[in-house]
C-alpha cells in the first residue's frame, strides 16, 4: 500500500512531463488501435463468409466467365442445395470516384443463400418481380439520397452502354459487419439485354455461388464440381467463400504488411519517448535512490518503484487512448466509409491496445532499473545533478 502511494506520488512529481508522456502514449495507442482496425476491415470479407457457401469461377482468372449451362450440372452434384449465377457488373455511377460494388445476381436464390442481407418482405417481393429493379444497401442509398422508385443509371465499363435501374428494395445488415453499400440487380436483365446487343457474350456467368448442405462436405463438393468440368473449354475453380475472399486479401498482402509494420513502428516510437522520460527521471533522482538504498530498500524494491511509475504513466496513457479510440473510429468511419464499408472496433484490438501500453511501460523501465540498481551507493551520492 505504501509502495503504491510512493509510486503514484513520484509518477506525477513533474506534472508537465508526466502529462506530456501520458499524452504521447495516448496518441500512440489511438493510432495503434485504428491501424489494427484498418487491418480487420481488410479481412472482414473473409470473416463474414459462411462455411455453407462455395464460389465456382473460371480457373483461368476472374475475368473469364462460365457458361450458363453449368448451373444445372452443378446443381446435380450431391450435397448442393442452391446454385446462383452472379456477375460483377463494374458499372460506374456518374463518376469513377463514386465507386461501389455492383453485381448482377439471380435474386431469389442469391438472397436465400445470403440471409445476412435483411429486407422488408414487401420490398423484397417487388424487387423480385421487377426485372429492371435493383436492391441497394442502406448506406449506399443514404450516400446518394436514393428513394424507393428512383431511376438510377450506371455506365457499364465491362458491358458497354448506359443501364437504367429502378430502386425497389433497401437492405440492412443482420449485424454490424455486413457491407451495406452493395448494388444488386437481376442477372436476367443483364443477360436479356446482352442477347440483343452482344449475343456472343450472353448466357455467360461471372461466377456461381453454390450453397451446400453442411460445411463438412465443402471440400468434397468443390472437388466434385471441378472434376465435372475438367478438360472442358471452361475449367472451374471451386473454393469456400472464405478462401475466395482471402485470395483477394493475399493479392494486396504487401499493403497489409506495410500497415502491420507501421503499427509496430508506432509502438517503438512511443516506447522510445517513454523510455526517455523514465531514464531522465531516474538520472535526476539517482541521489534519492541512493538514500533509499542506504535506508535499507533492496534492489528489488527500487526496481518495483521504477517499474511501477513507468507502468502508471503508460497504462493511464493506454486507458485514455482506448477511450479516445471510440470517437476517433466514428470519425474515421464517416470520412472513409466508402473505402472501408465495415469499420468496427473488435475486443481483440482493445486487448492488444492494453498489452501494447503494458509493453511500452515495462520496456521503458528496463534501462533506468539497470542503471539505478547497478550503481554503488557512495558513487550515486557523490554525483551531482
Amino acid at each position: 500500500m505504501f509502495l503504491l502511494k510512493l509510486v503514484l506520488k513520484n509518477a506525477f512529481r513533474h506534472k508537465l512531463r508526466a502529462w506530456l508522456t501520458i499524452l504521447s502514449v495516448t496518441i500512440a495507442i489511438l493510432a495503434f488501435g485504428l491501424l489494427r482496425t484498418v487491418i480487420d476491415a481488410w479481412y472482414v470479407g473473409a470473416e463474414e463468409s459462411s462455411p455453407n457457401r462455395l464460389i465456382t469461377r473460371n480457373a483461368v482468372s476472374m475475368t473469364f466467365s462460365l457458361p450458363l449451362a453449368y448451373r444445372e450440372k452443378i446443381a446435380r452434384t450431391p450435397g448442393v442445395t442452391q446454385v446462383c449465377p452472379a456477375s460483377w457488373f463494374g458499372g460506374v455511377y456518374v463518376d469513377e470516384k463514386n465507386f461501389f460494388p455492383n453485381f448482377a445476381v439471380e435474386p431469389r436464390s442469391y438472397f436465400a443463400l445470403y440471409p445476412e442481407y435483411v429486407f422488408s418482405p414487401e420490398q423484397q417481393e417487388t424487387f423480385f418481380r421487377d426485372r429492371k429493379g435493383f436492391a441497394a444497401g442502406r448506406k449506399l442509398t443514404e450516400r446518394f439520397g436514393w428513394k424507393i422508385g428512383d431511376t438510377v443509371t450506371l455506365k457499364g465499363t465491362i458491358f458497354p452502354g448506359n443501364w437504367e435501374f429502378v430502386l425497389r428494395a433497401v437492405y440492412h445488415g443482420r449485424d454490424e459487419n455486413v457491407d451495406e453499400r452493395i448494388f444488386f440487380f437481376h442477372w436476367d436483365y443483364l443477360n436479356e439485354s446482352l442477347k440483343q446487343s452482344a449475343p456472343s457474350r450472353a448466357d455467360q456467368v461471372g461466377a456461381y455461388v453454390v450453397g451446400i448442405d453442411r460445411p463438412e462436405i465443402a471440400a468434397d463438393v468443390a472437388l466434385a464440381v471441378d472434376n465435372t468440368f475438367k478438360n472442358s473449354l471452361a475449367e472451374t475453380l471451386t473454393e469456400t467463400e472464405k478462401a475466395f475472399a482471402l485470395s483477394f486479401v493475399s493479392m494486396t498482402e504487401a499493403i497489409v504488411t506495410v500497415i502491420r509494420l507501421v503499427s509496430l513502428a508506432v509502438i517503438v516510437i512511443i516506447a522510445a519517448v517513454a523510455a526517455n522520460t523514465m531514464s531522465m527521471t531516474a538520472r535526476e533522482r539517482i541521489g534519492e535512490f541512493a538514500v533509499l538504498k542506504t535506508l535499507g530498500f533492496g534492489g528489488r524494491r527500487i526496481a518495483a518503484l521504477i517499474l511501477g511509475e513507468s507502468l502508471v504513466v503508460a497504462l493511464s496513457g493506454g486507458l485514455f487512448g482506448i477511450l479516445f479510440t471510440f470517437p476517433a473510429a466514428a470519425v474515421f468511419r464517416s470520412l472513409l466509409g466508402n473505402y472501408f464499408p465495415v469499420f468496427q472496433l473488435s475486443v481483440r484490438t482493445l486487448c492488444l491496445d492494453g498489452a501494447a501500453a503494458f509493453i511500452v511501460g515495462a520496456a521503458a523501465a528496463i534501462i533506468p532499473i539497470w542503471r539505478t540498481t547497478s550503481i554503488k551507493i557512495a558513487e550515486a551520492l557523490r554525483r551531482i545533478g
Binding site: H14, L16, R17, L20, T21, L23, S24, I27, A28, L30, A31, L35, A59, V60, S61, M62, T63, F64, G90, V92, E96, K155, G156, T157, I158, P160, N231, L233, E235, L237, S247, S250, M251, T252, E253, A254, I255, V258, I259, V262, A265, V266, V268, I269, I270, A272, V273, A275, N276, T277, S279, M280, E284, Y339, I367, I384, G385
Partner: protein, 391 residues
C-alpha cells in the same frame, strides 16, 4: 552576443542516451513518412515509365483498362489504316493489335495465387516498346505455344522461369525467353503470340490497338478523328497518360495513408522532443542564470535552446532518411486495385521527398523546442541562480 553553436551541440552530446532516444523516435517518424511517399512515387514512376509519349492507345469506349476492353477485328482494321502512324524500318506502320487477359497463377514457394497479365503481341509490339530487352533465351516463334516472361514474373511465379511451362487455356506454354523492361509494368507481364492466345482463350477480340505517331504533336487531331468516327467505339489516349491514370487511385491511397499516419506519429515525437527540451532547461537553471549574469541576452539564450532543438530534429531526420534510402533496394509486389493485376515496383527516393523528410524533422524539433526555450529565456537572473539544481 550570441552563444556559439557548439554550446548547443555539446549539450546534446553530454546527455547521449536521452538525445539518442528522442532522435530515434523522430527518425522512425521520418522513416515512415519517407518510406510511404517513396512507395507511392515508385508506383507512379513505374507506370509512367511504362508508356511512351509518342504512342497512342485505343481501347473500347468507357473501358478504362485493357483488361475490360474488347475491340473486334473490323474496328481494329479501321485503326490500322490510320495515316498518322509512323512507318518502321521494314516499311510497315509501327502498330500493334494486342490482347490482354489476366491469368491466375501460383506464386513461387507458396500456394497463394495472384493475377498475372498475359499480353498477346503482334509483329509491331516490340518496336513500339524500345524499353523491352530480351535478357535470356529467344523470342517466341509465331504460331507456336511459346511465351516470354517479364523478369518480375519469372522471379515470383511458379513455372515462369526459362524452360519451364505455364498451364492456362487448356495448353502448356513453354517459356522460351525472359525479358527485362526496367522499372515498368511490362516487367510484370507474360507475352505471347496474340493469335495463338486468342485461340486458346476462345476470345476472338483484341484488347487494344497501339501505334506510334509519325508526328507526336498531331495527337489531338488523331484522337478527334478516331473518337468521332461513327464506325468505331473507342477511347484514344496517349500511352503515358493511359498508364498514369492506372496509378492514380493506388498512389492517392498510399499518400493519404502516409500523411495521416505521419501527422499522428509526429505529435508523439514532438512531445518527446518537448519533454527532452524541458528537462534540458530544468537541469541547467543555474547555468542559464550564470550565462545571463555574464551578460548574454534573453534572445541569445532563446536562440541557443532553439538551435539545440533543431539539431535534435536534424539528427533524427538524417538518421530517418538514411534508413529510408536503404528501402530503395527493396521491390514490393502487390495487386493494383485499378487493373486488378499484380505489379512489382520499387521504393523511389527523390530530392523532393528527402527535402520534405528533413524539413519535417526540423519542424518537429522546432515545435518541441519553442515552449522550453521560451521558458529558459524568461527566467529571472536572481531566481535562476538561487535555484539549486532541482526539477
Amino acid at each position: 552576443m550570441a552563444l556559439p553553436l557548439s554550446y548547443s551541440i555539446r549539450n546534446l552530446w553530454t546527455r547521449k542516451l536521452t538525445t539518442l532516444l528522442t532522435a530515434s523516435g523522430m527518425a522512425l517518424v521520418v522513416f515512415v513518412f519517407a518510406a510511404i511517399l517513396m512507395l507511392a512515387l515508385g508506383l507512379q514512376k513505374t507506370l509512367v515509365e511504362t508508356g511512351s509519349y509518342d504512342n497512342v492507345v485505343a481501347i473500347r469506349k468507357a473501358s478504362s483498362t485493357e483488361v475490360q476492353s474488347a475491340i473486334d477485328r473490323r474496328q481494329a482494321a479501321i485503326v490500322e489504316t490510320e495515316p498518322e502512324a509512323a512507318i518502321g524500318a521494314d516499311g510497315k506502320p509501327l502498330l500493334a493489335k494486342e490482347m490482354l487477359v489476366l491469368v491466375t497463377l501460383p506464386r513461387r514457394g507458396s500456394s497463394k495465387r495472384s493475377n498475372v497479365p498475359v499480353r498477346g503481341i503482334g509483329p509491331g509490339s516490340l518496336a513500339l516498346r524500345p524499353q523491352v530487352r530480351l535478357v535470356q533465351g529467344r523470342l517466341p516463334s509465331t504460331g507456336s505455344l511459346e511465351v516470354i516472361a517479364g523478369k518480375n514474373v519469372a522471379e515470383r511465379f511458379a513455372g515462369a522461369g526459362l524452360g519451364e511451362t505455364l498451364h492456362f487455356g487448356m495448353y502448356d506454354w513453354t517459356i522460351v525467353g525472359i525479358f527485362d523492361a526496367g522499372n515498368t509494368a511490362f516487367s510484370s507481364e507474360v507475352w505471347g503470340d496474340s493469335e495463338q492466345l486468342m485461340q486458346a482463350f476462345r476470345r476472338p477480340v483484341f484488347s487494344s490497338v497501339i501505334f506510334k505517331l509519325r508526328d507526336p504533336s498531331k495527337f489531338d487531331a488523331v484522337r478527334q478523328r478516331l473518337e468521332g468516327d461513327p464506325r468505331l467505339t473507342l477511347d484514344v489516349e496517349r500511352e503515358t497518360r493511359y498508364y498514369l491514370k492506372q496509378s492514380e487511385m493506388m498512389a492517392k491511397f498510399l499518400r493519404v495513408l502516409g500523411i495521416s499516419l505521419t501527422i499522428i506519429f509526429s505529435l508523439g515525437a514532438t512531445i518527446g522532443a518537448m519533454i527532452t527540451m524541458y528537462a534540458s532547461v530544468a537541469t541547467r537553471t543555474g547555468e542559464i542564470g550564470t550565462l545571463r549574469a555574464l551578460g548574454f541576452r534573453r534572445g541569445s539564450i532563446l536562440a541557443a535552446f532553439l538551435f539545440e532543438a533543431l539539431f535534435l530534429g536534424l539528427a533524427g531526420g538524417v538518421a530517418g532518411m538514411l534508413l529510408a534510402s536503404f528501402m530503395q533496394f527493396f521491390t514490393i509486389s502487390t495487386m493494383n486495385f485499378q487493373t486488378f493485376s499484380e505489379l512489382a515496383f520499387t521504393f523511389v527516393l527523390s530530392p523532393g521527398i528527402a527535402a520534405s523528410g528533413l524539413s519535417f524533422s526540423l519542424l518537429m524539433g522546432l515545435a518541441g523546442g519553442v515552449l522550453p526555450a521560451l521558458r529558459a529565456a524568461r527566467m529571472g537572473i536572481v531566481d535562476a541562480l538561487r535555484t539549486v539544481s532541482e526539477v
